[in-house]
Symmetry: D2
Subunit: 277 residues, 4 copies
């Protein structure tokens, strides 16, 4: 008995669930968990179905393609671990939490490599027997730097890139190479405090709650589809530095939680939003 997850996104129409579940039934597949969502504004239908049984992927997808309306996307996903390359700069906490959760089995990821524009996190990465590539951004143009990263990334053929406090803005060309496949942690409760130094901004504004946001990267800075947000209470005794320190726990927790959702194939991108089934 195998387990696979069927992911469908298509224009909504009457009888869709019946058609899809009939096909699964015809294939003798048991549905162990099923979630659907219809977006009332766009009329898009989203469905995530965990199936159990003996799979004939080819005929199952063929049957689905016959039944589904034009403009449908469907995918049958097995249980292989997602492969990621992690990009970092100097801060250890997000990388550290991912490494630790993969190590202790909480997060089912295959970390192919870590790439840093500083050498700081090499030692940490190598503690976990993973390759670390230090690709300096100094002395090269922005375009060249990104090209060096892309070349290094390409050899690993990752499913996702994870920006674990990678403190450089990626160009639209870079982003276009991995659409909806780059996950970033922004250290604010977006859309508050877009851009640089969010904790400094938060401190100056005198907020009573700070937050962090995991999102897919798009061309527009910090405007991509949000996967997960978390917050933490602060008060007047917190300096910008204290907020940054308190924020680290939020950042790492929200990033690994977002990765968990992605790993379980629960995140659909819908325009600049996510649907999480």
């Amino acid at each position: 008995m195998e387990q696979k997850t069927l992911l469908i996104e298509c224009p909504d129409s009457k009888g869709l669930i019946a058609q899809i579940t009939n096909i699964c039934y015809k294939h003798q597949l048991n549905i162990t968990r099923n979630t659907e969502y219809v977006d009332p504004d766009s009329g898009r239908f989203y469905m995530r179905t965990q199936l159990e049984g003996i799979f004939n992927d080819h005929t199952l997808l063929l049957d689905l393609d016959r039944a589904l309306p034009r403009g449908s996307e469907r995918q049958l996903v097995g249980t292989a671990k997602k492969r990621v390359v992690i990009l970092v700069t100097k801060e250890a906490h997000c990388l550290g939490d991912i490494l630790m959760k993969v190590f202790d089995g909480s997060l089912e990821l295959d970390i192919a490599a870590v790439i840093g524009n500083h050498p700081n996190l090499q030692a940490l990465t190598e503690k976990f027997e993973l390759p670390y590539h230090f690709i300096d951004h100094q002395g090269v143009s922005r375009v060249e730097h990104e090209q060096l990263i892309l070349t290094q990334v390409a050899q690993y053929q990752p499913d996702y890139l994870v920006l674990a406090k990678f403190m450089r803005v990626l160009s639209p060309d870079f982003v276009a190479r991995y659409p909806q496949r780059i996950i970033n942690i922004h250290h604010s409760f977006l859309p508050a405090f877009i851009g640089a130094h969010p904790y400094r901004q938060a401190f100056n504004r005198g907020v009573k709650i700070i937050g962090a946001t995991a999102h897919f990267v798009t061309d527009s800075l910090d405007e991509g589809p949000i996967i997960k947000q978390m917050v933490s209470n602060v008060d007047h005794t917190y300096s910008a530095k204290d907020m940054a320190k308190a924020g680290r726990d939020v950042e790492k927790n929200v990033l690994t939680k977002a990765l968990e959702l992605v790993v379980e194939d629960r995140v659909f991108v819908h325009g600049n939003k996510t649907v999480i089934l």
Copy 2:
């Protein structure tokens, strides 16, 4: 176009979703929201389906009865407001929040009457032009008191009884008259601090978080299926009285949230637990 919600609970079997959604499709009903759950331990299947269209309730249910396995329960629920009778003692905050939310349209409930074993909340109830029955527990036996309440309740034929800080324990005989239809708010994070004076208990234990629990009432004190829980941070500066005061907000918020879930037909009782779809 009408809107109704189909609620199904039955033993799980392969093809169930296909069968049920086929029947809906055959009846030309559109599924606007659908949620299912299979409990892996008991093998029970739960489904909540929001439907839109022209309903022929009789034939729809007949078709479902033919398709569903033995031991199934199914219900087709319209949009009529649930009718409740609220039982209270002296504290105003839970009753007050329900009254206010019904008044401002946040909570779609039909409050038939309020019954109190003290006269304290009569004035508040009558501000909202609702009948208040003061049924004193003094001078009568426990059995007689409950009988007086039951008689008063019966005339209203409520869907649910809501214990909004009703500070008396109901007898098994009383509970048996409204199985899975009595909703209580307990002022602790159950199962911590069962029974009387939970804030005093919480204070004595030196907890750093207090909570409240909305649950269905069963024979066993504070052991019924939990619908919703919420918490609030406290610290060493809180006296038992301060905790009780801070707890009031949690209590009222958790009770009205639980009522919202019940009102939307989202709560299934499964042994001593709830499944919320």
Copy 3:
């Protein structure tokens, strides 16, 4: 034995706490709770001291004035309830929660009157035997409208104005009349979604958490010192309307919590921030 609270704000200097607490001791006053804070950036010192004893306000303040550095502000506050006028538009939930909490004794406020630019909340206000002034903004200029409100407010001589979902922006002239004495609830997690329709903005951005902010009103829209913020989780199934509904609980809870802090004389304004002792 009386109880009073001493509030001090002044430039920091060595020995301040010793000097102040010596004076209290000399006056035979017992300190039951004491909190201080020195803002490291501005070097401002804040102190809130709950005192118990027989007070000679005049000599106590005289002694303090001799001891405190230039530029000090000090205040000795008794236990009289703060007097407020509440401004509203159409939405009932924030007003309702304040009325209910004052009614049940959770919030020690003296509500002098409610003023609305719509008649909608008159009935609710009058249930609690409070005066409601409907001051229509139609058919008068903005300046005239504010003047009508100010005249009405003036007769009550309130300590604070509470904007309980008052959906009009107050002019700088109006605000200047009650500096640091107008408390507003903004229905977003500021500084995200400043201005109109924050839930619509939040929906469009696809956030996973919504919030509300209670703050003092200054000239700049939604830029005043933040007193309290709270949040609530949402997901892709929430429409803008659902977010607004879920937001109502956050709004009312954060507003009454902020009022509680103000009522207990715990809020100091420090530039565009608050210090809460």
Copy 4:
């Protein structure tokens, strides 16, 4: 300029703060942060004062001893890191988070060694160049096992022992050796689900929130003074195993947060409670 923290616990009496702060002033010490608390039930006074200046510890403490009432405890703490020995069993997440936070500088601790009753976490510990002592509990009596641990611990002379998911109950004799110096993480929201398998208990009870509790260890199982509690929402789809997985994040966050409070000398033990200044 040095920085030290003065910790005082004594019977409350009028003028205490004045006396203490006068002594600090006489010693030319600047108070950068000060917090006090008087427990109204016991009449105990607690004070934590951050001081800056040139310290003469001996005469400062002498002056304080003259001024403070009988039954006082006072301590002047420098900025040296606390030294801890960590006890573990098999689960990596709490140990991992401490290691990572010490590594990245978020948690200022000196980890002297890790001791495990299983060999599982040796590799992880050694990644961070720390000694790991595997002390098997099999083949020895409970008393012998504890004696072996105590001997190993003794050579490090730690300030605190941290039980980072050490799954054995310590005997009163062991606990008596490190009173108020053993910190445990219990994987439930105490006092709910005392003892073994709290997630299984939580699952069986059908709770909607799980939690974790960091506390000092006393003779009574899971009854010691609570330092910190945190919670996380769950629902009917969580198996006991899912709850345990979700709980890991809560556990590690609450334990490192509690350690942070201890490291900053903010935790006073007061009977079976804590006062956190």
